[in-house]
């Protein structure tokens, strides 16, 4: 996978953490991410600034705050959807501190590089790809 060379350091570190584990333990790591999705305090994001990630089976919402080059990605997902929460949390943690251009340059196949295909199935991974492209789209729209 040539594109993995272009992965930013924070995402590459997450990928390496997953790939270092046996498949069942990768699910446990995903659960740790799910447990540590940063809570977004009420009022931080206006209600109509949350975007529903339609690719996910569960109600998950993202919002991206762009100020000049700095980007903050926020996500909300219910506790009864831990897989989706885990995906959102990986992106929130992994994209933290990256510039808008760095996020836009993130390879779209990042979700497929985590070695989760056999653990959670391709079907479920598509939700994470959907989150990533919606984050990028929000960043692009914010610069107009």
């Amino acid at each position: 996978m040539n594109e993995s060379a272009a992965l930013p350091a924070s995402l590459a570190a997450i990928r390496d953490d997953f790939l270092a584990l046996e498949v069942p333990d990768r699910l446990q790591l995903l659960l740790e991410y799910s447990d540590s999705l940063p809570e977004v305090l009420e009022g931080t994001v206006e209600e109509d600034h949350w975007e529903r990630v339609e690719e996910c089976q569960s109600p998950v919402f993202i919002s991206v705050l762009v100020e000049a080059e700095a980007v903050e990605v926020m996500a909300q997902a219910p506790p009864e959807a831990p897989t989706t929460r885990g995906f959102a949390s990986i992106l929130v943690h992994g994209l933290k501190g990256m510039t808008r251009q760095e996020i836009l340059d993130t390879p779209p196949d990042f979700p497929l590089q985590l070695g989760l295909q056999n653990a959670v199935s391709m079907l479920r991974l598509r939700g994470m790809s959907g989150m990533l492209w919606r984050i990028k789209r929000q960043i692009q729209e914010s610069s107009v």
Binding site: L27, Q57, S58, P59, E80, P82, N118, A119, V120, S121
Partner: protein, 297 residues
């Protein structure tokens, strides 16, 4: 040794009450030798966030499906799965799950394809257990591997294929999806876009009876009288007729399949697991759009 049935009066009116247990029964019987509790969810991590003590996870997607062909595991695959989970052929299996037991009913249906003799659902599923204040744990049991025979899957009794449905047109057929999916406005369930089909609508002659009409707000099944009133009196289905149910990928229709077969005691109920993701993408099969069932052309 067989585990006793739940003989509580709220189950006794169903045709096959031995296929259901209530949360009180489960709380009282958990830990009985020969009783295995399985959790089957839509979300593969939900079990790991907390489950009924002693319960083991079973995943519909990564464990019950064949990894290559769109089909279920074969006899050897099912035996290996049961062995790994410590389940023997004469053990009692109680399955519960999220989403009003969709995936639990689906798992139970797959167990029935292999003729596992004693498999039951927890009435109300995960929601009911949580609502009752039942204990939850993150501790994952490590079962001692069992021996389980290789049983050939029997696809003839409770499973329908596309060809079977084509030959069945004109006989009782139930579409349990949402009204928008039935009419063809949507090709997927609201919020499930990745499991769509190329065309929208329903199989001609199918009646629209969304699965949720068989469930209460708290995820338990409606009582026998309410179910009979819905399927037999309101919709006019004959308990002696052959019925086929379908949805999008066969999980919601497993719920209705369970209701008609075990709670109402219909003679012959089959689940068409190919469902709309197959039919709605198949070439030259008849499709009807709109709110009426339509006719056989």
């Amino acid at each position: 040794m067989p585990v006793p049935f739940d003989s509580s009066p709220d189950l006794s009116e169903y045709a096959n009450p031995e296929r259901l247990v209530g949360v009180e029964w489960l709380a009282a019987h958990a830990g009985t030798p020969g009783l295995h509790i399985l959790e089957s969810n839509e979300d593969i991590l939900l079990y790991d966030t907390g489950h009924i003590p002693g319960a083991i996870k079973i995943d519909w997607h990564t464990e019950l499906n064949d990894p290559v062909v769109r089909d279920y595991v074969d006899g050897a695959g099912f035996a290996a799965l049961m062995q790994a989970k410590g389940i023997s052929r004469d053990d009692t299996v109680v399955i519960y799950g999220d989403k009003s037991n969709w995936w639990a009913a689906y798992a139970l249906w797959v167990f029935t394809l292999f003729g596992h003799p004693d498999v039951r659902l927890l009435n109300g599923g995960r929601d009911a257990w949580v609502a009752s204040g039942g204990e939850m744990t993150r501790e994952i049991p490590h079962p001692t591997p069992s021996s389980y025979p290789v049983i050939q899957r029997d696809d003839t009794q409770i499973r329908a294929f596309k060809e079977d449905v084509l030959a069945h047109l004109g006989k009782p057929l139930i579409d349990v999806r949402s009204p928008e999916e039935y009419s063809g406005e949507r090709t997927h369930m609201p919020a499930y876009p990745e499991e769509g089909a190329l065309r929208g609508g329903h199989i001609p002659t199918a009646k629209s009876i969304p699965w949720a009409r068989a469930a209460n707000e708290d995820s338990t099944f409606r009582n026998a009288e309410e179910l009979r009133s819905l399927y037999v009196e309101e919709q006019g289905f004959d308990p002696n007729a052959e019925v086929i149910t379908y949805c999008r990928i066969g999980e919601r229709s497993s719920h209705t399949w369970f209701v008609m077969k075990y709670l109402l005691g219909f003679d012959s109920v089959k689940n068409y697991d190919g469902s709309w993701t197959e039919w709605g993408s198949a070439v030259r099969v008849p499709i009807h759009t709109g709110t009426q069932p339509g006719e056989v052309s």
